[in-house]
């Protein structure tokens, strides 16, 4: 058993005792989580979904309970926002100013105490993905997270920020769990933002449920510290005519993986997924994206881009599943990568599993370097080599940043991405 597994098993035992006063459905979910993790343990390279992602940086750490440092959290996003520190709500940093009056944005832990019946449909069921170590750990160990309820027909202009900060000096783990429930025809933008410092492990699970005709933009920004290990699950369930736009920016962490599963369960639902991962040094950034076309007449688009420098590694697995009867499915997936060094690598793997006959499915992608002819063109106009490289790298990345809806977030992400590109400081000078 690895050091991490041993510490998780010990933590699971401790958690068993405190689960006694929880609602029955939750106790049952916790118990499933404990049993499942004890059985499956951490994934290894032998498992197909983990072939390219070595979890050693996680496995070799022994995690203690995360005790929040009393230090304040700076650089808060605009209200309305919820802020969590090491997996627990940090009320002093939260601000619900400007929250739409019909919207409920609250702590999941608080809701479990006050309105447990509301959460039974979501927490009462076992995760459909079965033997999943990180879903199991999260189920057994989550303490808190955000609950966002958008009633039928409510349109929300202001983006809702969920910020998760980890700042432990020693290895510590947190397992946030978030739930976004969008009613019929509801519209909102949710920003899920991770950052911190120290050798922490964050294992987040977010579920987004879209009722008929709901329109949700979900922007996921991972700016964890350089020693962090980040595992993020995003499960999206879409009813008929709903529209989900998901953006995933993976910038930080030593090892970070996002698994996104979007289920198109009603006719004419559409799902647009965009992602950008920017890795340097020895980072490993991984995306596993599965779009499950379970209904006819649904559309999905995926564009994921990667920029890899140093000895970093990128992993992208894109799976499109078209179920029997999901006729007139229209699905497209593109994964493009820019390698900035000889040592950087990308493993990219599209998978199509099509069980209907009247469908339009395509996938494409590229792995390349900065083009010499573009570089030369810029230089002949007087642009110095370093700046020319930075401009071309940013040109590749900016397409993804530009797709972000909220203007303030777009500016923030733009700066964050530029800050991680070689020569990014040169771009700021000429801006």
């Amino acid at each position: 058993m690895s050091a991490a597994e041993a510490s998780f098993v010990a933590e699971l035992e401790r958690a068993r005792a405190s689960s006694a006063h929880e609602p029955g459905y939750l106790a049952s979910l916790r118990s499933w989580g404990r049993e499942t993790f004890a059985r499956v343990r951490l994934p290894t390279l032998k498992q197909e979904d983990w072939r390219y992602t070595n979890l050693a940086p996680l496995a070799e750490r022994s995690f203690a309970d995360a005790r929040p440092d009393p230090g304040e959290v700076k650089g808060l996003p605009p209200a309305p926002r919820l802020v969590f520190l090491n997996g627990r709500l940090l009320p002093s940093a939260c601000d619900l100013e400007g929250l739409h009056p019909r919207l409920r944005l609250s702590s999941l832990a608080e809701t479990l105490r006050e309105r447990p019946a509301l959460l039974e449909p979501y927490l009462g069921a076992r995760p459909a993905r079965g033997d999943h170590a990180f879903l199991a750990l999260n189920a057994a160990l989550f303490e808190d997270g955000a609950l966002l309820e958008i009633p039928d027909g409510v349109w929300v202009e202001r983006p809702l920020h969920l910020l998760f900060v980890s700042n432990s000096g020693k290895p510590a783990a947190s397992h946030p769990k978030n739930l976004v429930l969008a009613g019929r025809g509801a519209r909102a933008t949710v920003v899920e933002h991770y950052r911190g410092s120290g050798p922490y492990f964050v294992n987040a699970v977010t579920e987004v449920v879209l009722a008929e005709g709901a329109v949700i933009e979900h922007d996921r920004l991972q700016e964890d510290g350089p020693e962090a290990v980040h595992l993020g699950q995003l499960a999206v369930r879409q009813a008929a005519q709903s529209r989900f736009t998901g953006e995933s920016f993976a910038l930080g962490g030593q090892l970070a993986r996002v698994e996104l599963v979007a289920e198109l369960r009603g006719e004419e639902a559409s799902c647009n997924l965009f992602g950008l991962y920017v890795a340097s040094a020895n980072q490993l950034l991984d995306h596993l994206v599965e779009v499950d076309h379970a209904s006819p007449h649904c559309t999905s688009r995926e564009v994921y881009k990667g920029i890899l420098d140093g000895t970093s590694r990128g992993v992208f697995a894109g799976r499109i599943r078209v179920r029997e009867g999901a006729q007139r499915t229209d699905a497209d997936q593109v994964n493009s990568n820019l390698l900035l060094s000889e040592e950087a690598t990308i493993d990219t793997k599209p998978q199509l599993e099509i069980l209907a006959d009247d469908v339009k499915c395509s996938h494409g992608g590229s792995v390349g370097q900065i083009r010499d002819d573009q570089l030369f063109y810029l230089r002949t106009r007087g642009v110095p080599l370093g700046l020319a490289r930075a401009m071309l790298t940013w040109a590749f990345a900016s397409e993804m940043v530009d797709k972000l809806g909220p203007e303030g977030l777009r500016a923030h992400v733009g700066r964050a991405v530029q800050g991680r590109l070689p020569g990014g400081e040169l771009l700021r000078e000429v801006a």
């Binding site: 063109y377 106009r381 940013w394």
Partner: protein, 260 residues
Amino acid sequence: MLRIEGLKAAVAGKPILHGLDLEVRPGELHALMGPNGSGKSTLAGVLAGNEIYEVTAGRVTFDGEDLLGLSPEKRAARGVFLAFQYPVEIPGVSNMYFLRTALNALRKARGEDPLDAMDFLAVARERMQIVKMDPAFANRGVNEGFSGGEKKRNEIVQMAVLEPRLAILDEIDSGLDIDALRVVAEGVNSLRSKERAMIVVTHYQRLLDYIRPDRVHVMAAGRIVTSGGPELALALEEKGYGWIEKEPPQALAAAGEAQR
């Protein structure tokens, strides 16, 4: 201003230029003609600093300074500009952002203050009119989805904004219909000055109906085989390039003289 002596260059180990001499003074416009494969574009690329070409012998000075030892961006800062035969498309970099970045990089290299976005825009708008460029192109990606003619106009706009001292125009006429050719040529003419020299590389005499050169040079097999006044271009038009390989270059020059 520009002095080329005994220049030899190769691409991928294959010699293309076999000893080329040329001198260009401020205010002069030189036309460089010759059949495909004669080395015209190679010369343009070598002067701009394209690293795919390897200079194997000879020297090139610009105002007495060794040009070949300078990076492409330093050459640009000295005032050398290449209008590309095939301008590259750069999606994601807007035309105006690119051009302002370039202009400010040149200004910085010359110790001048950068232009802010508003001042720059005023300059760029004015210069775009030189070739009647649609203002809508300003915010598109550099050359992205431009037609051949639009790309060539964009090269001239860049020249107009960057104000080089030596402009090398590589087949600025290729792929243009007669109306576009006239617009581009008028743009070039409006940018001629006593201080600015130009080398116009072309396969066809047609361009020289609109842009009158001071000197015409004919290249064949990596050398300048003959030089003369504008009338030399007319002689070439009549006799074609096949002729210069068969007859001694002097005869061609004489033919040019005779036409005058």
